[in-house]
Symmetry: C2
Subunit: 391 residues, 2 copies
């Protein structure tokens, strides 16, 4: 259910796997986060530490993930191998593009932050379980949303049909929980219960999202969209961090704090993702300007703008009230006007300030569980990485 990084179908089709954020323009200021990260040195800020972490995560987690997928019966395996980018639709091997592994990286970084290298090594199976859950939700979301492209390839349901995409998603959820059930680590049962709870929250978030699509823009409140974003995107990031903490044998309050860190960082990510969906540079995103406005998406800046009570809000409501028709108002004229209305109604400023607030909250939660900044390095780097990008 959660859309994230290059795994989203809306974003950055031209982006390469190793694209850091170091050379990007200033991000929508996560001010609180910068302050907190200051002590940790320049490492996290240039994005290189995060890229190295993500690469190391893939190296650690992919064998576990691949073994789990290989254990599936042929019919289900074929779909999963395709979805993860390990096979082409005809069953021949592919280079693999299974996404950036942000979630498993958070599991491992959280385990390392609270329990050192031993905890990180022990948490590899939990990291794979989180990635399996993420991919189960992607398979099902694509069916529900009728999305036709993911990770620059046709979605599984367009290749194998809706029933098989549903079944493969079901099987991946089962694999995830089987991995934890078979893990002899003392934290595995608590981790499984938490991950299952998170699945329920992801389902509720996806429900809210699809239900909101059917409602008029002015019927949707900002609180609802924020709650939806937390359930759809924040919940699994929070759960990933919490699982890492559980595998580090952390106290309940530290597990909760790391969950809060992941949730708030996830919300900051979503806010910035929504800003990019309106004002992202088409040369960077590979999508037309204002992509989210074209489809009348009720993204966070839009709903904030609509709720502002300003004249620009009324103009935006009128524009969003009818579907966008290409070419009707000249080359993107209407979309430019819509983006301007969101901006004049304060939607852009609000989203950037809210993202900064969420990152500040995330840092507070992190500092509660990991008071020594050096130990939190990996988590800081990952939070920076996911919220700093501009495409």
């Amino acid at each position: 259910m959660a859309e994230f990084m290059t795994e989203t179908k809306q974003r950055s089709p031209g982006e390469t796997g190793s694209a850091g954020a170091g050379d990007e323009p200033a991000p929508p200021g996560p001010g609180g986060r910068r302050e907190a990260a200051g002590d940790a040195g320049a490492g996290p800020l240039d994005g290189q530490e995060a890229v190295a972490l993500l690469e190391r995560t893939r190296a650690l987690v992919d064998p576990e993930l691949r073994a789990a997928v290989d254990s599936l019966p042929g019919s289900m395996r074929r779909i999963a191998l395709y979805h993860f980018g390990w096979e082409h639709a005809d069953g021949t091997p592919a280079a693999g593009n299974a996404g950036k592994a942000i979630r498993p990286a958070l599991v491992l970084a959280a385990a390392a932050a609270l329990g050192g290298p031993g905890a990180r090594a022990a948490a590899v199976r939990a990291a794979a379980a989180v990635e399996l859950v993420h991919n189960f939700t992607l398979l099902h979301d694509d069916v529900m949303d009728r999305d036709t492209a993911r990770r620059h390839r046709p979605t599984a349901w367009t290749v194998f049909g809706v029933p098989d995409a549903i079944l493969a998603g079901d099987a991946l959820q089962a694999l995830a929980l089987r991995l934890l059930a078979e893990d002899p680590h003392p934290a595995s049962a608590a981790a499984a219960a938490r991950l299952a709870d998170c699945v329920v929250e992801l389902c509720a978030g996806q429900h809210t999202d699809t239900a909101m699509e059917r409602r008029a823009p002015d019927e949707v409140t900002l609180d609802e969209v924020l709650a939806m974003a937390e359930a759809k995107t924040g919940a699994l990031l929070g759960c990933a961090c919490a699982l890492g903490a559980l595998y580090a044998d952390a106290h309940d309050e530290d597990v909760a704090a790391l969950d809060g860190f992941g949730r708030q960082a996830g919300l900051a990510f979503q806010l910035i993702d929504d800003v990019i969906g309106i004002w992202g540079d088409p040369r960077r995103t590979g999508k037309p300007a204002g992509a989210d406005l074209v489809v009348r998406k009720k993204s966070l800046p839009v709903v904030a703008a609509l709720a502002s009570g300003t004249p620009a809000a009324a103009e935006l409501a009128a524009l969003y009230g009818k579907p966008y028709v290409e070419g009707e108002a000249g080359d993107g004229g209407e979309i430019a006007r819509t983006a301007l209305a969101v901006e004049r109604a304060g939607g852009r400023d609000w989203a950037q300030a809210e993202a900064a607030d969420r990152m500040a909250l995330a840092m507070q939660e992190l500092a509660r569980a990991v008071p020594v900044p050096e130990a939190a390095g990996g988590l800081l780097a990952l939070a920076e990485f996911v919220t700093r990008r501009t495409s």
Copy 2:
């Protein structure tokens, strides 16, 4: 994925909850089973013991099941409450028709057979988990098969839409595995791993089923249909019995034997269900005669008949080669002719003999794990109950 008893959408809309099999005509002879059951007295054979067991199971498992469903967020809870028959579509309370609880009854009976009343009491949560998995598969199967009625009511997707039915199914799977993850019983992790494995098998079975629907009748082999029936119906009955054995702290070989018992009994059930789908009395089934033939279902007797190499097989292949058009050949004339072709090609005899063989195998597996017939009483009664019905 498994269709079963009054939970099937094809069968017995007029059947009441307490309909035993005692007054039915002779079932397709589970001969081996009768012999084995002889020692256990007349109890299991009249169906009353099974009915009592099922009622007791509902009383024990429903509170656990209801608590799990009530823990869902509102949007998911609403769909689950409707699916289980506890609420109407408008959210008002309903009398409840959550099916016969065969699977949870098997969990409890297996636990009691191998571990006595204490094991049965301990296995209630596992029984609820199995029932949650069963209902998750029903929600998804109905979406895939576009079935519009279940348990005499409109299916969830017709009421709440496809996305919400998919999401509610996802949430029920998560609830099932969370129940086991939160269960402090020493067998809960092994039970969770086994249940997750079973989900994968159910998915593969449903895949095979939907894929076979798209193939020509003469391209489907009997081995394939049998394997599909084992995966779709046998696997979860076997898993239910195995979970009961695990909660009785049984040895591995006894767990495997009880899995085999459930699987073989499940196959016997499916064979008889398929016989009823062709020759069932419309007054009992509430469906037109030859319901499965009308939709050209590749059921076990049909595929066996097609594979017989007889002149009747050729006639059947010709009939199945084109869709049934109502009224074209008079009042059911074509369907009667098709049923006769299946019968003359040996499909009916084969299915009844195969059902008897499967029940004999089931009894062998049961005797291996539970040598004392008195202890096996509940399992015998349930196996008898599910294979003895004629509508």
